[in-house]
């Protein structure tokens, strides 16, 4: 097996004195797609934000290595420039800031870090239009303020557009399917699927199995009460869908006995 891109060992996380994640172990090899499933409040989003570097969490034990380096000591922007991308469950609105301007600033911050030349307005526009076509996004979204007044579906597509532009090595999708109708889901999933490759890995956080019909995972992990209680192949997702999360609870209870 190739050297893992991401290694999470015994990760324990608290927020405001409450334990949220306990003893998380996870290894993602280059090119792999892992899905994290679990009921609401199981800690899925916390895991995503801890990887992205949001403030307000206490890491009480464990470590996270990304490309063999300690990820937790890096600032969010350093992680981003290093290839860690988080598609937000609730993309943030930035009033008055033109979406194109924002996307270009982000792309150039990452390119600069990689030692690539920064894109000028013309080259950037060509690139962004190409990516937008894939996501069936309307050009007018480029001229509007970042996420402001976007519909739920437009916001999620804007996230995937950013992912496509920033070309990350590890993409974390936090409930990207929530709030999407079936057509939008298909478009978004196709966008993600087109980015799969030997060098890029995904961590797909989702509540429902339906996204995984389009983005077929290599591994599925079930998170409950802050612990990974079950791991398996893609069939685990189907089983969950059929039996519901209560099945997991019962399993866990059985194991505990």
């Amino acid at each position: 097996m190739a050297t893992p891109l991401l290694q999470v060992h015994n990760l324990n996380v608290e927020a405001g004195g409450n334990r949220i994640l306990t003893g998380i172990d996870l290894e993602i090899a280059p090119g792999e797609v892992h899905a994290i499933m679990g009921p609401n409040g199981s800690g899925k989003s916390t895991l995503a934000h801890v990887l992205a570097g949001r403030e307000g969490y206490d890491i009480t034990a464990g470590e996270v290595l990304y490309e063999g380096r300690n990820l937790l000591e890096l600032e969010p922007e350093e992680r981003a420039r290093g290839g860690v991308f988080l598609a937000f469950q609730y993309p943030v609105e930035i009033p008055g800031v033109n979406n194109t301007y924002f996307l270009k600033a982000a792309v150039n911050a990452v390119r600069k870090h990689r030692g690539e030349t920064e894109l000028d307005a013309m080259d950037f526009l060509a690139l962004v239009k190409e990516k937008m076509k894939l996501l069936e996004m309307d050009d007018s979204l480029l001229n509007r303020p970042v996420n402001e007044g976007f519909s739920g579906g437009e916001k999620k597509r804007n996230e995937i557009l950013q992912m496509a532009l920033l070309d990350p090595r590890l993409a974390v999708l936090d409930e990207t399917d929530s709030g999407l109708d079936i057509d939008a889901l298909r478009i978004v999933a196709r966008g993600v699927d087109s980015m799969r490759g030997a060098e890029r890995s995904f961590l797909v956080v989702t509540h429902y199995q339906r996204l995984l019909d389009y983005i077929v995972p290599d591994h599925v992990h079930v998170l409950a009460n802050g612990r990974i209680v079950k791991s398996g192949g893609k069939e685990l997702a189907l089983e969950l869908e059929e039996k519901g999360y209560s099945w997991i609870d019962d399993e866990v209870v059985k194991e505990a006995r």
């Binding site: 969010p76 981003a80 911050a109 870090h113």
Partner: protein
């Protein structure tokens, strides 16, 4: 974002702190009728001007310094101020070659060299250094159109009939304490007259500097747009670092006749004092425009980042029917800066309209108040006003306050007022950082977005300058 990181971004210091050593010709500190006579004599003014100054002085003696603004500062000793200071004049200057090289260097340090300005297409610069204009460009081209753009002193000498007709007609010397003081001792400033039907083809621009130590700067500006005329005027300031407080009490009067339009844009960056609130300029300014004619329009756009204390309410008197007044403002207070600023829109004519967009940003220990009056007089049928006041707080030690006053005496008037106060969003900063932007870039991006509605009212080059100024002001500051 943590309070510490916000603090870091807001604690950058003033970048334009230096003084220029140029011989100055000053009068001793203090104010009395003799000093006023001396100022008037040095400026070779006609008799009416001296009389007006003296009347203003006598009025000022009867007035008290106002203290209703939400600002605090130690008492000003008006007898310690030097009321006149001019760079020692060589004979009149015809070209930049004759200007003191050290002065030119100062401008270059500020990135606004006259050399550069001359090359900048379409910008005529009247540089006010301390109290006397030392260089004026593009005069000839303007002259061909009949546009007068000169120092106030020159206007008093060359065009006394215009000065006498309009001076004090918008801001009378009885108006307020600081306006009275200015009227008595004003040193110099700019004068613009655009004749009937003429559209001024370039942005007119002046850079003000306060230089000699302890010299109060009393600018006087008068802009007249005759029937159907249009002019856009830019005023920008930076000032050198000073340890003692300096009083700046300017008066700006605008007059727009029938179908005329005046656009007045300011980027103000007077020395704000150091991180601990020491030093800095007191900026007590009276700015007012009269939309005297039908269908006239006056727009104020200001970006205020400087001064220790700002007391300033650019206003519009909407006298002519269908006249329009606008006020677009971005004000930043950082460290220990205090600002009490806003506008007055006085609706007198029928169908008069006004728009107020005010964006306040407070960081560090900055305290900021928006104070605005919308007044609709009895005859102002169908007057309309829209006001929007937004405040952004950075950190937890600053303050934002809003004091809107509304007086309506005509039932057909329609007024809207919206106000918001928000903290700079930690989730917004996190989002930007997750996309690879540094914290500082993220803050600049968010702040510029917040101010966008105002920035887009500024002429292009000025908008760029304003954005830069904002990022310098808030550097290391997100607090």
């Amino acid at each position: 974002m943590s309070t510490d990181s916000i603090r870091r971004v807001t604690e950058g210091e003033y970048k334009y702190g230096f003084t220029t050593e140029i011989e100055t010709d000053s009068v001793p500190p203090g104010l009395n009728e003799d000093v006023i006579r001396l100022i008037s004599a040095k400026k070779e003014e006609p008799e009416f001007m001296l009389e007006w100054r003296l009347k203003a002085y006598r009025q000022w003696l009867k007035m008290k310094e106002p203290h209703w603004a939400h600002v605090e500062y130690p008492p000003v000793d008006y007898q310690e101020i030097v009321y006149y200071s001019a760079p020692k004049q060589k004979p009149k200057l015809k070209s930049l070659d004759e200007v003191d090289p050290e002065l030119l260097e100062t401008f270059e340090k500020l990135g606004i060299s006259l050399e550069e300005q001359k090359r900048l297409a379409g910008v005529a610069v009247d540089a006010v250094f301390d109290s006397v204009s030392v260089a004026t460009t593009y005069k000839k081209k303007l002259g061909e159109l009949g546009i007068l753009f000169c120092s106030f002193s020159e206007a008093v000498r060359e065009h006394p009939e215009l000065v006498q007709k309009y001076l004090g007609s918008v801001v009378p010397y009885t108006d307020n304490f600081f306006a009275a003081l200015n009227s008595a001792v004003f040193s110099d400033g700019s004068f613009v007259y655009v004749p009937k039907g003429v559209r001024c083809p370039m942005e007119l621009s002046t850079y003000f500097r306060i230089n000699a130590a302890d010299t109060g700067q009393f600018e006087r500006t008068l802009i007249i747009a005759d029937e159907g005329a249009y002019v856009s005027y830019l005023e920008g300031c930076t000032a050198p670092m000073r340890d003692t407080n300096q009083l700046h009490a300017a008066v700006v009067e605008l007059v727009a006749l029938d179908d005329a339009e005046i656009k007045y844009s300011t980027v103000q960056n007077w020395y704000p004092g150091d991180k601990d609130g020491k030093g800095g300029i007191y900026n007590f300014v009276t700015k007012r425009g009269a939309c005297r004619g039908r269908n006239s329009k006056i727009s104020w756009t200001q970006v205020e980042t400087g001064s220790a204390i700002t007391w300033k309410y650019p206003s519009c008197i909407l006298q002519g029917d269908n006249s329009v007044g606008e006020f677009y403002s971005v004000a930043v207070t950082n460290h220990y800066q205090q600002a009490d600023t806003g506008t007055k829109m006085i609706h007198i004519g029928k169908n008069t309209r006004s728009t107020i967009i005010s964006k306040g940003i407070s960081a560090g220990h900055g305290q900021q108040s928006y104070r605005g009056l919308v007044k609709v007089m009895k005859g102002a049928d169908r007057a309309r006003n829209y006001s929007q006041c937004d405040s952004m707080l950075m950190g937890d030690r600053c303050g934002a306050h809003t004091f809107p006053y509304i007086e309506v005496k005509n039932p057909s008037a329609r007024l809207e007022h919206e106000a918001t106060t928000s903290k700079i969003g930690e989730d917004q900063i996190y989002y930007c950082k997750q996309r690879g932007l540094s914290e500082e870039d993220a803050v600049n991006l968010i702040v510029n977005g917040f101010c966008k509605e105002v920035f887009r009212e500024l002429p292009m080059e000025f908008a760029v300058e304003a954005q830069k100024l904002l990022s310098v002001t808030l550097e290391d500051a997100v607090g």
